[in-house]
Amino acid sequence: MATFNNTDLAAFKDVWVYCEQRQGKLMPTDFELISEGRKLADELGVKLCGLLLGDDVDGMAKELGGYGADKIYVCDSPLMKNYTTDAYAKVICDAVTNLKPEVLLFGATNIGRDLGPRCAARLHTGLCADCTHLDVDVANYVEFLRGASTLDVDNMKWDTEDRNLKMTRPAFGGHLMATIICPRFRPAMATVRPGVLKKNAFDKAKADACEIVKLSVSLSEADIHTTVEEVVKAAKKMVDLIGAEFIVSVGRGIAKDVEGGIKLAEALAEELGGVVGGSRVTIDSGWLSADHQVGQTGKTVRPKVYIALGISGAIQHKAGMQDSECIIVVNKNKDAPLFEIADYGIVGDLFKVAPLLTEAIRAAKAAK
């Protein structure tokens, strides 16, 4: 049977976060991951290190310290100007093999989900995809389960010495939650869903104190088997669901007048200073572009207010919005499952309610 060189768990320490940058700009999810990594490193009593790859990127490193990183490892090479799986995976795997972190986190972006599995396969270790919650400390994990599950945590046995990273994610389209561990190999790896974890406030003193360490990069053109011909930013501004405080989403209920329904949702969203989202059917039918999709296959959001117009509430949609602070559901069908998680529900026609609600909110704000 095969043997592996990453089973001596004690030889691995520190929490690492892969800090993704695109065209010289850090991704917002980097700050969330550094903030979460800080918590995990404190629970483990180890350092939190960022891993930053690119071409001439060391100028960005300090900023990451401001969210809690002790140290940033910088890997610079002109061959890493654009992201390629081959170059980035090689440099990351080399660094992990040499420096042996016990935890390695990636943002679950389209690039993180390309890179993470490639690295995990090469390093022979476990990778948990698209996590929404992470814990090391068992007491913290039990507290999390108390609120987030129906498990009878007080009558379960817990090993308080357990130092495994406990990686929680939705499975089966959100019907179940699963906590995954990687008990035998290191590093334990996870990709983490953007927009779910909270980021710390930026601290200038911490940024100044952050140590920057340049790693030597062993990379040649022969290592890279793909050619990046161009990188294009979308001309049309993508809707920023993840950053939005107010989201008005539409579903199958707008079918009888798609254009009119979207216009009403836009008007309501505009009054609130928010954006428009949609359930899977609105994307699959081509009514809205894919960047509007809320749900397990779309984006996970937790705005202050989520207004669902004509969305019945398939579990895969719920999985993407159930943590919103206030959920308002408008649906003609009083048995629509989404009413179960609504803070406020109106049984009625969205084509009547949306414009009246827009008007009522405008009036109520003016009277304030």
Binding site: T85, N110, K166, A171, L272, D291, I328, Y344, L356
Partner: protein
């Protein structure tokens, strides 16, 4: 030239999903479907077959009933099918699954002008990991999230979709591509295809078939060989009942708006 497409049969999570009291999925009560993104991979392969006459082989790992899915894909136009199925393979996580599928693909044989295609991710796990992990095991370059592709000689030019735009990437065969739904609209089975699919070759690879490959090691496959384990699985608690407002008229909307203001929600 041939294209090998990896596909998966999955429970249809868009419909009603039943959960057992112990928190596991009640699979027996659920419909199974061909994973949606995999259909786009099959369609991309069949389009290339229309243009070049190449062979299309569909491969799946799963229990024997998954053969029916392979026959359906043959009725759409795939030439050959391979079912990878063994007790030893059960309980595999993405790492272990990619070991097994990579061994199966080696057994089929990957030559210089071949392409491996997968769907971006399966709707039961949503991991998007098996494609890149197969590529790594086979030492193939990968392009994921492919939304457009064009083959010119031995080079494939792909539009790789990002959250904020796209990259154009060119890659030489052999390579592995993962496909997204924007790539194409999958075709239907044809009457003639259904008529002929029963005659097409469909092989089963068991543990015995693959066991001599170094990838098939009991330390790296199945439940025991998987680096990740499930620590706990659970269902979220139902949220307490909210406030239902009567009527879809102006009064209701005014009432709601004033409550939202009062509670500083807006």
């Amino acid at each position: 030239m041939k294209i090998i497409v990896c596909v998966k049969q999955v429970p249809d999570t868009s419909g009603k999903v039943a959960v057992n009291p112990d928190g596991t999925l009640n699979r027996a009560s659920m419909q199974t479907i061909i994973n949606p993104d995999d259909m786009n991979a099959v369609e991309a392969a069949l389009k290339m077959k229309d243009e070049t006459g190449c062979r299309v082989i569909v491969v799946t790992m799963g229990p024997p009933p998954a053969m029916g899915m392979l026959r359906e894909l043959m009725a759409m136009g795939a030439d050959d099918g391979v079912l990878v199925s063994a007790r030893e393979f059960g309980g595999s996580d993405t790492y272990a699954t990619s070991q097994i599928l990579a061994a199966a693909l080696k057994k089929i044989g990957i030559e210089k002008d071949d392409i491996v295609m997968c769907g971006r991710q399966a709707i039961d796990g949503d991991t998007a990991q098996v494609g890149p992990q197969i590529a790594e095991k086979l030492g193939l370059p990968q392009v994921t999230y492919v939304g457009e592709m064009k083959k010119t000689g031995g080079t494939i030019t792909c539009k790789r979709i990002l959250e904020d735009g796209y990259m154009t990437i060119s890659v030489k065969t052999p390579c592995l591509l993962t496909c997204i739904k924007e790539l194409n609209a999958p075709r239907y089975m044809t009457v003639r295809g259904i008529f002929e699919c029963g005659q097409k070759p469909l092989e089963t690879y068991t543990y015995e078939t693959l066991k001599d490959d170094p990838l098939i090691d009991l330390a790296t496959i199945g439940l025991k060989g998987s680096p990740t384990n499930i620590f706990k699985s659970f269902t979220p608690p139902a949220k307490g009942a909210g406030m239902m407002l009567e009527g879809d008229d102006k009064d209701t909307c005014n009432k709601l708006a004033s409550m939202l203001i009062e509670k500083h929600i807006i």
